[in-house]
């Protein structure tokens, strides 16, 4: 059989070199993001576009009932700095998703005993390191500026005597309260990171010592993580995103946000592999593996659409005002501020990947995959934008330097952290028991 090998596993060890040049570029991007953000903040503080905002705000006030209970519905409390915090939250949640899906992907591969992916598992395995950045950011933002993001944190909203008293929100205070929320958040991040670092340790140990003990341990860790993720993915969706529109609820929401995270993570994995290949690394990852990644992106884009559409259809069909408000706000609320993003959301995340990735050839062609990854990444950023901004900012939302600066900062930080994590282990898990299968993968 050895004759069929493209190379013998003995010399597959390959290390990613995070060059000074590469570091410099990422740091430049980071600095550019910071500059854009600062200019954006300056412009915001000067009230750039103030008239438009004012008009929209007045318009919104007329149709005050066209809101699903987001923080912004608290009239008079809006401050221009809210937009900065909303962006921190948006990017924090989005990149947390990409990072944690890295672990999810690896876990699924172990649990399902998938062979083909063993050749590229080091890439998703590096992602969860970024949770060490987004975790503290989200936790601190919640502690310091939670009332900007969450309507239910407004002062006096659950006090019967207060003028801000809101009966519906008060009814949820058993779940939505500072301590419990913070506790859940910390527990999720700690569990994710602990399981990941445990898995990572075993994975690197396997490189050094071989054998199959580590493999079976990793299957167990993966199983544990899947159980944790099964619960935490839904709860984090309710907490971090659904509770922004505090009055509104949907049983689908947990799986909806998870499906958005999932396909974003898959696109990030694919794009990272392709970029590493462009740099001359991972030549043993061939078009068969890319084809499989492409199939995943295709399938889970459809899955996202399925979940998005079912949620929409059932709410639309039953036509309960307290539920339809969510879509009305995004479709025609705030002077149709969010209508364009709502349309782009479906175009980027469904029509584009569905039509482009339909054929076998497209999934085996690097440039098609790359374009599709970019569309999915942008599309799901917009998806999270749609989930978060209307509730937090309402008529004050928009796309400006603050948005572009913030996402550049987060993205460059993600690339930096993941790149340095990639240097810490060989790019191929050379003692993975399924490596030989993956190297001969041919579909």
């Amino acid at each position: 059989m050895a004759g069929h090998s493209h190379f013998s596993p003995a010399n597959v060890e390959e290390y990613f070199e995070f060059t000074a040049e590469g570091r410099k570029r990422i740091i430049y991007a980071f600095v550019a993001g910071v500059v854009a953000l600062l200019v954006g903040i300056y412009l915001l503080s000067r009230g750039e576009g103030h008239e438009v905002v004012q008009a929209a705000a007045e318009h919104g006030a007329e149709h005050g009932e066209h809101l699903s209970g987001g923080a912004v519905s608290h009239h008079g409390d809006y401050d221009w700095t809210n937009r900065i915090w909303a962006n921190v939250w948006l990017n924090g949640v989005y990149f947390t998703g990409i990072a944690v899906i890295g672990m999810f992907f690896v876990s699924i591969q172990y649990l399902a005993k998938a062979g083909w992916s063993s050749v590229l598992k080091r890439v998703p395995e590096a992602f969860p390191r970024f949770l060490m950045i987004t975790g503290p950011i989200l936790i601190l933002t919640f502690i310091l500026k939670g009332d900007v993001i969450f309507h239910w944190m407004h002062h006096g909203i659950t006090d019967k005597g207060s003028e801000h008293y809101d009966k519906i929100i008060a009814g949820k205070s058993g779940y939505l309260n500072f301590g419990f929320f913070l506790g859940r958040m910390v527990v999720f991040f700690v569990l994710w990171l602990l399981l990941w670092s445990w898995m990572r340790k075993k994975s690197i140990d396997e490189d050094l010592n071989g054998g199959t003990t580590n493999f079976y341990d990793m299957v167990k860790i993966a199983t544990g993580f899947i159980v944790v993720m099964g619960i935490s993915s839904s709860m984090s969706a309710w907490d971090w995103v659904m509770s922004i529109d505090t009055h509104w609820f949907s049983t689908m929401f947990g799986w909806y946000m998870f499906s958005s995270w999932h396909v974003t993570g898959l696109a990030t994995i694919t794009l990272t592999v392709l970029l590493l290949k462009d740099k001359g690394y991972m030549q043993y990852v061939n078009f068969n593996h890319l084809h499989d990644l492409g199939k995943f992106m295709f399938a889970f884009s459809i899955f996202w659409t399925y979940v998005w559409f079912e949620q929409f259809l059932l709410i639309y069909y039953a036509n309960f005002p307290e539920e339809t408000i969510y879509f009305l706000e995004r479709w025609e609320g705030h002077d149709k501020l969010y209508k364009a993003t709502e349309i782009l959301n479906v175009v980027f995340n469904f029509f584009f990947p569905f039509l482009v990735m339909m054929t076998r050839d497209a999934k085996r062609t690097a440039i098609f995959l790359k374009i599709c990854c970019c569309f999915i990444l942008v599309g799901h950023y917009l998806d999270f934008y749609q989930m978060i901004m209307p509730g937090v900012l309402g008529p004050h939302g928009g796309f400006g330097l603050v948005e572009f600066g913030m996402v550049t900062i987060f993205a460059s930080a993600f690339i930096y952290i993941v790149s340095s994590e990639l240097t810490k282990a060989s790019l191929v898990a050379k003692n993975h028991p399924f490596l030989e299968e993956a190297l001969h993968h041919d579909i």
């Binding site: 059989m1 069929h4 399902a112 005993k113 062979g115 519906i168 009814g171 949820k172 779940y175 199959t212 003990t213 493999f215 079976y216 159980v227 099964g230 619960i231 839904s234 309710w238 609820f249 949907s250 049983t251 689908m252 929401f253 947990g254 799986w255 199939k295 459809i302 399925y306 979940v307 079912e310 949620q311 259809l313 059932l314 709410i315 069909y317 039953a318 309960f320 307290e322 028991p433 399924f434 030989e436 299968e437 190297l439 001969h440 993968h441 041919d442 579909i443």
Partner: protein, 469 residues
């Protein structure tokens, strides 16, 4: 597909079988005279079928007034049974299509029986649609056919009409997929046939299969395309079934998680039914070398995963019912768990969510007896799930003066028994006259997974086996 197989993979065909052994072992049932066990089992099914057919006849003769429905609970066993059977009908196509796309080799020993079971289960489900139509001879009115009654069309806004489309499409595609998969095996039987009659019949249905490379190439292409078509179909069917409920404004029914949660539940019950049937088949037909402990364990793992997904959905619904602050919704769920139908609710919870967790223990999920008992329990639980959703949501509606309970009559029960008779009669006919295991697919994966190919077991193979346990 590559034939490099990691030494730590479990073998899927044991007993050192050669290709010829596979043909012999599986054709044996088809070619030999019916065994005594088969005759008894088939006879019992026929008796059950006959009794059920009488009940169904009486339902049609008298009208559905013979059921226990009342003005509050207008839907009960009929729709429960329908959803239950449709759910069971998910596993076959899932195994053959989705697992084919995922290149799961272990599917090859079980897909044939699972697909057959799917088709029979969908037929059973369809029988409840016909049963509760009242005038089944007008069933074609459910289709949007041009007619002479003016512009009289079906209500395209109704999920019940979507159901008609979804299920009839699903049945057709599953049937084609199953039949196509049978063709090469039918040709094998034709080529071995001793009697004129079997040569004729198997020859007729094998469509002149000649086994040339070109035929095989076309065949592979078609199966992949059909798998691609079936995958969205299998997901769409229970999605649309769930919409029969979720598009309404009944508390406990209108909830957005229904579509994926119903699909997960359907896969759950479908796998459990496949497990029950295969555990019997493997013993009766002595197929232990093809349906190994590894297969059983894999199915148990899927049962646990889907059962847990269903569990998360139950808890999500319960939580959101409270979180929403909607009084009706909260009441509905509290009533399910503590009201007069509490026993049905806890039956569902313990069978569907708690019992599959036993499979976390390797010892239990590799035990044949435990697997069998649990697979039956799961399907009992899934029946109660539908009963809980349907009856407990309806029986206490918006007007307390209309609150009522449902009690089944012998015709509710008899029509349900009919579906069992139908199902098992068809299944036993299938098991006798068609190969229950897909011979050519098993052969196609044997190189990697049979004990007959010891060169696959490199050094370390034994060592790794120890680690498994």
């Amino acid at each position: 597909m590559s034939h490099v197989v990691s030494p730590i993979r479990e073998t899927l065909v044991s007993g050192g079988k050669s290709y010829h052994d596979v043909t012999n072992d599986i054709c044996k049932q088809v070619e030999g005279a019916p065994t005594k066990e088969w005759k008894i089992a088939f006879g019992v099914s026929l008796v059950v079928f006959a009794y059920g057919a009488y009940c169904l006849f009486w339902t049609w003769w008298q009208g559905i007034g013979v059921w226990g429905l009342n003005k509050t609970v207008g839907w009960a066993w009929d729709i429960t049974n329908f959803v239950w059977w449709v759910g069971i009908g998910h596993a076959g196509t899932l195994i053959s299509a989705v697992l084919l796309l995922f290149r799961q080799k272990w599917r090859t020993s079980i897909n044939r029986a699972a697909e057959a079971m799917t088709i029979f289960a969908v037929l059973c489900a369809a029988s409840f649609i016909l049963a509760h139509m009242g005038r089944p001879w007008l069933f074609h009115w459910a289709l949007p056919l041009p007619n002479t009654f003016g512009s009289l069309w079906v209500n395209f806004n109704s999920p019940l009409v979507w159901d008609v489309f979804a299920i009839s499409t699903y049945l057709s595609v599953s049937l084609v997929f199953w039949y196509l998969g049978l063709v090469p095996d039918l040709a094998t039987i034709r080529d071995r046939a001793q009697t004129k009659a079997s040569k004729f019949w198997y020859g007729l249905f094998s469509l002149g299969w000649n086994g040339s490379a070109k035929t095989w190439a076309r065949y592979e292409y078609v199966s992949l395309i059909l798998a691609g078509i079936s995958t969205p179909l299998v997901l769409s069917v229970h999605t649309i079934v769930s919409m029969d409920f979720a598009t309404s404004v009944i508390p406990g029914w209108h909830t957005t998680i229904f579509p994926p949660y119903f699909v997960a539940g359907a896969i759950f019950s479908g796998f459990a039914m496949v497990q029950s049937l295969l555990l019997i088949t493997r013993v009766v037909f002595k197929l232990e070398d093809y349906i190994t402990i590894e297969h059983i364990e894999m199915m148990n793992i899927i049962i646990t995963v889907t059962g847990s997904i269903v569990g998360i959905a139950y808890l999500t619904e319960f939580f959101i019912a409270w979180y929403s602050g909607v009084e009706y919704e909260s009441y509905c769920f509290v009533n399910r768990a503590t009201g007069p139908y509490w026993w049905a609710y806890w039956m569902m919870m313990s069978c569907n969510v708690i019992s599959p967790q036993l499979f976390w223990f390797k010892k239990l999920r590799t035990s044949i007896l435990v697997s069998f008992i649990l697979s039956v329990i799961v399907n009992i639980g899934m029946w109660f799930e539908r009963f809980v959703i349907i009856v407990s949501s309806l029986h206490r509606d918006y007007i307390p003066s209309s609150w009522a309970m449902f009690s089944p009559t012998m015709y509710d029960i008899g029509d349900y028994i009919f579906s069992f008779g139908l199902f098992f009669t068809l299944f036993f006919l299938f098991a006798k006259f068609l190969p229950v295991i897909n011979m050519f697919e098993v052969k196609s994966v044997m190189k990697g997974v049979s004990t007959n190919y010891p060169f696959k077991k490199k050094q370390g193979g034994e060592k790794s086996k120890e680690n498994v346990h």
